[in-house]
Subunit: 221 residues, 2 copies
């Protein structure tokens, strides 16, 4: 009975990791499509994200089946409930990635990202891949240090986001209002992608240790 | 045993409704603070939203306790799992409202919303109150018709959001890039608030009937 529970839970964890790996691939593709004004890649990314989103239902079904058949308690119950919440974060990361690819698709063949902020968006794209990669790592190791590390990496994303808004608002911005609107929204998508990666780290830590990351920090003070 | 389950579930449902009622109050306050450049109201809204967000933990705890003590199956299990997901939507609505109030706070004493889009933002604020109100209704009645009605109301929000972006991008926009960035983000917050209200309707319907709204629509075709 317990063996079956752990087998099913391990399958569910594999499923979540697979969604997160796909988010990492997709955000890299979306950024390439955006910066390369690559319509074919943008469309491929959108399809890829839709497939990731479709994995949600299987994951939810697996979690609910575990609850129904095994009636877990304490730590095991916490693991299944957290898995259900992780599904939401991972699905949302996929939706945000799709928004980025969709901006590239909509504006094709025009460039969405004007020259003065190309470097910043390139770095935000790299930071997003980095964060998704770190989230995959925490989903694999459930290491508190790795989870804290995602928080630190997200500071980089937040700094880049602030710099992006500052660039749009700087005196010399002569790329027009339409580009300002596009870049504002793109910045928001990348930033939210990062927030969800952090949340994946926090929840995974709670799932396996029963401790909130804030507790970890409090203990380390 | 079953009576106790239903008492606890009813308490949890009350808790979710209370969060949603607070979101309806808060989004009205946030819009007033924004359009009135009212610093005191903006700060009060931010505090109020923080209190709503703090209700999350109690709701999650209640849901997990129900799972642990009662080990529900089938429809009852679905209700508890959906309640857990509703907590996320309701918390997110509160965070988005806080972002709107925070824009008013940050820019004070300046107006965030320039004259040409004041009417649109006023209508988006009213649409958001309307959507939150409808979500409270569905949480109370769990009526499929009411849930479908939220979808229709969200179309109004989406139309207003499109009109807002069009206004920013129109030839005559002479309110500068900073206002364009602010209004773009505000529009996004209102739109996402609406999306979560729709999600509350959909999930509540699924919680009580076991049917997805898409199935309802399919059946009515």
């Amino acid at each position: 009975m317990r063996t079956r529970f752990h087998d099913h839970l391990e399958q569910l964890a594999d499923h979540l990791r697979a969604m997160c790996v796909r988010n990492r691939e997709a955000i890299a593709m979306a950024t390439d499509a955006l910066l390369g004004a690559d319509l074919e890649l943008a469309e491929r990314t959108i399809d890829y994200c839709a497939e990731t989103a479709a994995m949600r239902e299987d994951a939810e079904h697996a979690a609910v089946t575990l609850l129904a058949l095994e009636a877990p308690v304490a730590g095991e119950l916490r693991q299944v409930v957290t898995a259900l919440q992780l599904v939401d974060d991972l699905t949302r990361m996929s939706a945000l990635t799709e928004h980025i690819a969709d901006a590239a698709r909509r504006r094709h063949p025009a460039d969405v990202v004007p020259e003065p902020v190309r470097d910043l968006v390139t770095h935000m794209g790299a930071a997003a891949v980095d964060l998704a990669d770190a989230a995959v790592g925490v989903l694999t190791t459930a290491d508190p240090g790795d989870a804290a590390d995602i928080d630190a990496r997200d500071d980089t994303m937040d700094d880049l986001h602030r710099a992006l808004l500052a660039a749009i608002l700087a005196e010399g911005w002569d790329n027009g209002t339409a580009a300002a609107v596009d870049v504002t929204l793109l910045g928001r998508y990348y930033e939210r992608f990062g927030d969800h990666a952090v949340e994946v780290g926090r929840r995974t830590l709670y799932m396996t240790t029963g401790r909130r990351q804030d507790d970890e920090v409090a203990q380390s003070l």
